[in-house]
């Protein structure tokens, strides 16, 4: 990569754009937090030369124009809660942190949309909407910390995608700044819009490599009045996994969530939480949430789904329908990653996605990979949409070097298995720098070449978030 370093002169210019308080330069201690995201492996981290925190679209535009002129790489950043190294400044340069652009600009109830800046914490949108009985249905598992801008950049999914889909379903308008500094307003408060190419859809999930998002328009839904959560304990993996396509096909209701947890995940999380449910004999568990307008509707939905689970050998099947008990059950699922981190900090959290009906075959293949390498790969995740968080944990016997070598080989096998089943290597976390060398498993050369031309059309100088998605680091 042929980038210029940030000189004092350029730093001065950045300082004049955002104000001296909103520039971090030559201060390693304050730059360090911007060198990584939540990806556990620190080899994907890289130090920025400077961090700028613009307060407006105009400032973002001036920063981009400056960076284009000087050939400085710019990496946009939200809350840093990503899991693919997407906001890591691979080639140094400027981290453009959107943390100060954190206002909800408009609650437009007549059009049922909310307009917000990218630095808004996702959950605060729903807090602001609560009194009106409305919600933004995106539900990334980190919703109390992640930023809306990050959700848009990664097209975040999460635990409610089975019923409500992923972030892109709700994004109808964007204001973006191109690497050149030009500001575009795309889409709007519209439910239909086929005027030209759908650039909104292209930009959502583009991992901050095409443009910087400075404003987001989201459609809203009414909050369902009633919810209930089932926790079904199955004797083994095949019976749990086999229940998922049956629920989808036979229950005649669309569950809000269908989450899968294998035995290792259940044991780790329940022990971490001191949970009292009899989890020791569980071979695998499903957590299924339903919602609806009335108690009766929700009862019928969970009773039917619960009966399908019982027919597949689930026992016990717990039901929670008030806040306290629902939280208790969701906590088991939400704390798995944390529980594993406590046990072994050296791990690789994956997020492959396969067609729902291919989950049993995937689990079989995963078991074979575990046996081959002798490594524990606990697996949990969003079974209802085929998005599974297989987590490779470093065996104690492996040294660091052995871990690196074998992990790359193991991941290659895991990804090829996924691809052969009609899946993709990432369902919601993104490619970033973590998975870029594997993208060729899923995308053929012609597709990748087209994507490169798209990238070049937006960012001819290649200064925006370089080193991501494409295997050669372009």
């Amino acid at each position: 990569m042929d980038f210029a370093p940030i000189t004092d002169r350029i730093a001065d210019e950045l300082s004049r754009i955002v104000g001296p308080k909103n520039l971090i330069f030559r201060d390693a201690e304050r730059l360090e937090p911007y060198s990584h995201d939540e990806t556990a492996e620190r080899e994907y981290a890289a130090m920025p030369e400077a961090v700028v925190k613009p307060g407006s679209t105009a400032e973002v535009s001036r920063i981009m124009a400056l960076a284009s002129r000087e050939r400085i790489p710019v990496t946009p950043r939200g809350a840093g809660s990503g899991l693919s190294g997407g906001c890591v400044p691979q080639f140094g340069g400027v981290v453009l942190s959107l943390e100060r652009m954190n206002r909800i600009l408009e609650l437009d109830l007549d059009n049922l949309v909310v307009v917000a800046q990218p630095g808004v914490v996702t959950n605060t949108i729903n807090e602001a909407l609560k009194k009106d009985g409305l919600m933004f249905a995106g539900y990334p598992m980190s919703l109390e910390t992640c930023f809306l801008g990050g959700n848009v950049a990664e097209n975040a999914g999460g635990g409610k995608a089975v019923k409500y889909g992923v972030t892109s379903r709700y994004v109808v308008g964007l204001e973006v700044v191109l690497p050149s500094g030009e500001v575009l307003r795309l889409g709007g408060k519209l439910r239909k819009d086929v005027t030209g190419y759908d650039l909104v859809r292209l930009l959502v999930g583009s991992e901050g490599t095409l443009a910087v998002v400075t404003e987001v328009t989201l459609t809203l839904l009414p909050v369902p009045k009633r919810r209930a959560v089932l926790l079904a304990s199955f004797p083994d993996v095949p019976s749990a996994i086999g229940a998922v396509p049956r629920i989808v096909r036979e229950a005649r209701v669309v569950p809000t969530s269908v989450e899968y947890m294998d035995r290792a995940s259940v044991l780790a999380s329940c022990a971490y939480l001191n949970e009292r449910i009899p989890y020791e004999r569980a071979g695998a568990m499903l957590l299924i949430e339903v919602d609806g307008e009335s108690e009766e509707e929700v009862f019928r939905a969970y009773a039917r789904i619960g009966e399908i689970c019982e027919a597949r050998g689930a026992d016990p099947v717990y039901v929670a329908d008030n806040r306290t008990t629902m939280e208790r059950i969701w906590n088991v699922r939400r704390n798995i990653a944390e529980a594993f981190k406590v046990r072994s900090p050296r791990q690789s959290l994956e997020d492959v996605v396969v067609p729902i009906a291919a989950i049993p075959a995937f689990m079989e293949g995963l078991a074979a990979i575990q046996a081959e390498y002798g490594a524990e790969i606990p697996c949990y995740g969003h079974a209802g949409d085929g998005n599974l968080h297989a987590t490779v944990v470093k065996p104690a016997a492996w040294g660091e070097e052995e871990w690196h070598g074998k992990l790359a080989e193991l991941l290659g096998k895991l990804y090829r298995l996924t691809h052969e089943l009609g899946g993709r290597i990432s369902g919601e976390h993104g490619i970033g720098n973590k998975r870029k060398r594997y993208i060729g498993i899923d995308l053929d050369p012609a597709t990748l070449a087209l994507m490169r031309r798209v990238k070049a059309a937006f960012d001819p100088a290649g200064i925006l978030n370089p080193g991501k998605i494409f295997p050669d680091g372009a």
Partner: protein
């Protein structure tokens, strides 16, 4: 063995709205749940049933027809029957009238070997009803019980209970029948099972009114309540609070300075080069 568990339907605390005029809870807007502390009484009863299959558990509540929600949850958790004392005559009861009514219902439904209740309800917060029920039934009462063990003595069933208080534990033995009020030391209450939920869904609690209880109208509800609510007011805030806005970097700096200043005033920290003196934020 027959166990009766008293349960109360209360509003879920996070969905609570307070009427600013009257200072009372707006019940219509709140989601109803089983009083969280009653869950420990239910758990204690169900744990006995786990080991003594012949035990039958009846859940009893007094309240409006909507209180059936709480009774259904008790059945979903594993109680055998549910009884609701309901009727306009019972409205406005204080703890005295409530206990008298519940005692009449227990007499009517009984006899029971054990009467269980929670430590107190999260709405009224009095903790009086359980012991008052014991008094009306002329039974001994063991309060703040954690774990209980049962054994069959020569004179009948004997309960060994661990009482838990802030500064000590106490082990008490008492012959049944008796009333026990339970605290959190019982352990985390079980989650309802699907089978229990389905049973509860199809079950209508047995209803008891004034006539079935054989209680004179002047002894129930507000007429039977010696307590008079003279005034309801929100408590005045006696702590002085100060909000610091730390959402911007400038605000965060000022907030940090203010916190250091406050801690320094209390002698908890010694600020470096008088940093705590500047950037005072107005309350």
């Amino acid at each position: 063995m027959k166990i009766l568990v008293l349960v109360k339907q209360v509003p879920e605390t996070d969905s609570l709205a307070i009427d600013p005029e009257t200072g009372t809870v707006v019940r219509s807007e709140a989601t109803s749940i089983v009083n969280p502390l009653d869950l420990y009484a239910l758990e204690a009863a169900l744990a006995i049933k786990d080991t003594r299959a012949e035990a039958r558990i009846t859940a009893l509540s007094m309240g409006p027809p909507a209180a059936a929600v709480a009774l259904k949850e008790a059945v979903a958790m594993g109680c055998d029957d549910a009884v609701l004392v309901t009727g306009r005559e019972f409205a406005g009861a204080d703890t005295w009238a409530t206990a008298r009514t519940l005692a009449a219902a227990i007499r009517r439904l009984g006899p029971f070997d054990l009467v269980f209740c929670g430590e107190k309800a999260t709405d009224g917060d009095t903790g009086q009803v359980g012991p008052e029920v014991a008094a009306f039934l002329d039974l001994p009462v063991v309060t703040y019980a954690g774990a209980v063990e049962l054994r069959d003595g020569p004179g009948g069933l004997v309960v060994r209970a661990e009482r838990v208080s802030e500064d000590c534990g106490q082990i008490v033995e008492c012959a049944a029948p008796l009333v026990l009020s339970f605290c959190k030391a019982v352990g985390e209450p079980r989650l309802p099972l699907l089978a229990g939920k389905k049973r509860a869904h199809d079950l209508a609690p047995r209803l008891l009114g004034l006539a079935e209880l054989g209680l004179p109208a002047e002894e129930a509800g507000s007429r039977g309540s010696p307590t008079r609510v003279v005034r309801i007011a929100s408590p005045r805030l006696t702590r002085e609070t100060e909000s610091l806005d730390a959402r911007s970097e400038e605000g965060a700096e000022a907030a940090c300075r203010r916190i250091v200043e406050l801690l320094a005033e209390k002698g908890l920290v010694v600020p470096k080069d008088g940093a705590g003196r500047e950037g005072r934020v107005k309350p």
